[in-house]
Symmetry: C2
Subunit: 332 residues, 2 copies
């Protein structure tokens, strides 16, 4: 809203250092970069190839020199660790988990057809699955002096990224300490994605991976981890990534009144054929994915064949393509 010319030096494009991307990605926003794989590519394999994994950046991609990278971990009572990348790799056992990440806005383009919703117009591809490798957040927190028995009261683990806005404010988010300490929840400080180092768009050299939880909490380019009695003060924790009643709009919304989204609900979509596609007569293969947030299981996928007023239901026609922790799969 300020029409004055930017001061000299600020004219440099802060996104000029962003990495190259795969040309098949469908771009919803270039700066910051937000893109998803075409639906058909999503169900070509159970694990999404790194270069096709949906990308949800809020800010320019930071350029991190791995040799000088340090992760700060703040425990209780002023105790803190500073870990180099090799210390993170060597001091803590490497743990691997297959987990699906999903953006809270996945399928927003369909929601907007019912009622307009603010945000990026994602199709059905803002969800992807990888095999992640890294240190358990639990192990790192315990090394920083966090006690396993957290007692009563809700504590949180706040993350900050190395990605910053024009004022120097980083991206940030938090999860409940209870989830962070749960061995079963398998929260990682990941440095590997499908057996390779993290791509720059996915948080090189270290990102958080919180299985079953909205992608916004899996902070990329991780700079700090801090235990706190409060949730992250970040804009994205406080004033974004929350759900409201349909009667709320941008004039009446009270972000303080709603809880921050953590676990997402069950999700399923058809990737092939696409809506409106002409299909041959006779047998048709339909593909899609299903995922249940919060570490719960998907028990089955059912489908309805519609047309000219009649509808049939089928369950046994679906073939499972594979299921991972986190907990989803693809079917056809």
């Amino acid at each position: 809203e300020d029409a004055a010319a930017p001061p000299p030096g600020d004219t440099a494009d802060p996104f000029a250092g962003d990495p190259p991307r795969h040309p098949a990605l469908r771009v919803n926003s270039l700066k910051p970069f937000n893109a998803e794989p075409p639906p058909e590519l999503l169900t070509q394999s159970f694990l999404t190839p790194n270069e096709l994994f949906f990308t949800r950046n809020h800010l320019p991609v930071p350029a991190v020199e791995p040799g000088s990278y340090r992760l700060r971990v703040e425990g209780p009572g002023g105790r803190a660790l500073s870990l180099s990348l090799s210390e993170l790799r060597q001091r803590f056992p490497k743990h691997e988990v297959t987990a699906t990440l999903q953006c809270a806005g996945n399928r927003r383009s369909e929601m907007s057809r019912v009622r307009p919703v603010k945000g990026l117009s994602w199709d059905i591809g803002a969800i992807s699955t990888a095999r992640w490798g890294g240190a358990r957040l639990r192990d790192v927190l315990l090394a920083a002096g966090v006690r396993d028995n957290t007692g009563d009261g809700e504590w949180h683990v706040c993350f900050e990224g190395l990605d910053v806005d024009a004022s120097g404010t980083p991206y940030g988010a938090s999860i409940p300490l209870k989830r962070a300490l749960s061995a079963e929840a398998e929260v990682l400080l990941a440095y590997e994605m499908n057996g390779r180092e993290l791509p720059r768009d996915h948080g090189f050299p270290v990102r958080v991976v919180v299985p079953g939880v909205v992608g916004a909490r899996s902070v990329k380019w991780l700079r700090s981890v801090a235990v706190s009695p409060s949730e992250s003060p970040s804009h994205w924790q406080q004033n974004d990534y929350k759900g409201f009643c349909p009667s709320v709009d941008w004039d009446s919304v009270d972000f303080g009144a709603a809880p921050a989204i953590q676990e997402l609900p069950v999700q399923s979509a058809i990737t092939e054929p696409r809506p409106g596609a002409a299909v041959p007569a006779g047998e048709l293969t339909v593909k899609g994915y299903a995922w249940s947030g919060g570490g719960r299981e998907v028990v089955r996928v059912s489908g309805a064949k519609g047309g000219e007023g009649k509808m049939g239901w089928g369950e046994r026609e679906w073939r499972e393509m594979g299921w991972g922790k986190g907990d989803g799969g693809k079917w056809e």
Copy 2:
């Protein structure tokens, strides 16, 4: 299907010993007794009065003499406890939890309007809330030698009731051992309901209460608790209380292919006014309940005003009436 006369002696009504019931209950089945409170009474108070609490019996109500009652608890390796009622009360700290129980068939009468479903035709009242008091199942299992760290693999805790069918087979059900041992899940061996001893219809003298889980696992008139590598072999665990795809019917159903229902999904219903009721012009108070299975929270209740093709959404019109662990509440 056997038209022969029953043998002498079998003509006695096995339900003759059932207790008297409150006349306001709406009876779906008399033998076994299955009944629910009228919707209007359900939302008159946050805790449902004992005599109005929905009743879901599968068999005749057993007559238990409290002085000779013994609960058998089978731990691992042949170790077992036999507890009298006073031992259960005195050896273990009394724990209280406000929890809502719901029958899996709640609102089946509405489902059947879409597509017929087999089972009792419950309206919206097969759900009720009480303050339960008893021993934690966790404490009793630990006393029976069950170790807190259950390691890998799914173990179960099987319950049997003192209610038996004509062949002497008791009602039975099971829950995962992990839930049974979780301090947070607050599973009780309850001997109190809203500050009084359990009524006969609700399991006198001892019943299981599993907050957040389908009522069928909260076994009444509890006779035995056993840790097992398998789920309960009971009919009601194996061949009932499971969910299927709409294409499945009684000719094609394969109970072995579906998991036993444990946590139920979110539920909400309007208790006043009733469908089709004439209401006065002007302001109208609408009442109802909301409940989320599995110990998750209900974040909000939203309502829509319909009529003559237009629909408005309102959130702020709904007023919260109270929420308890388990986790539900009533609103108006």
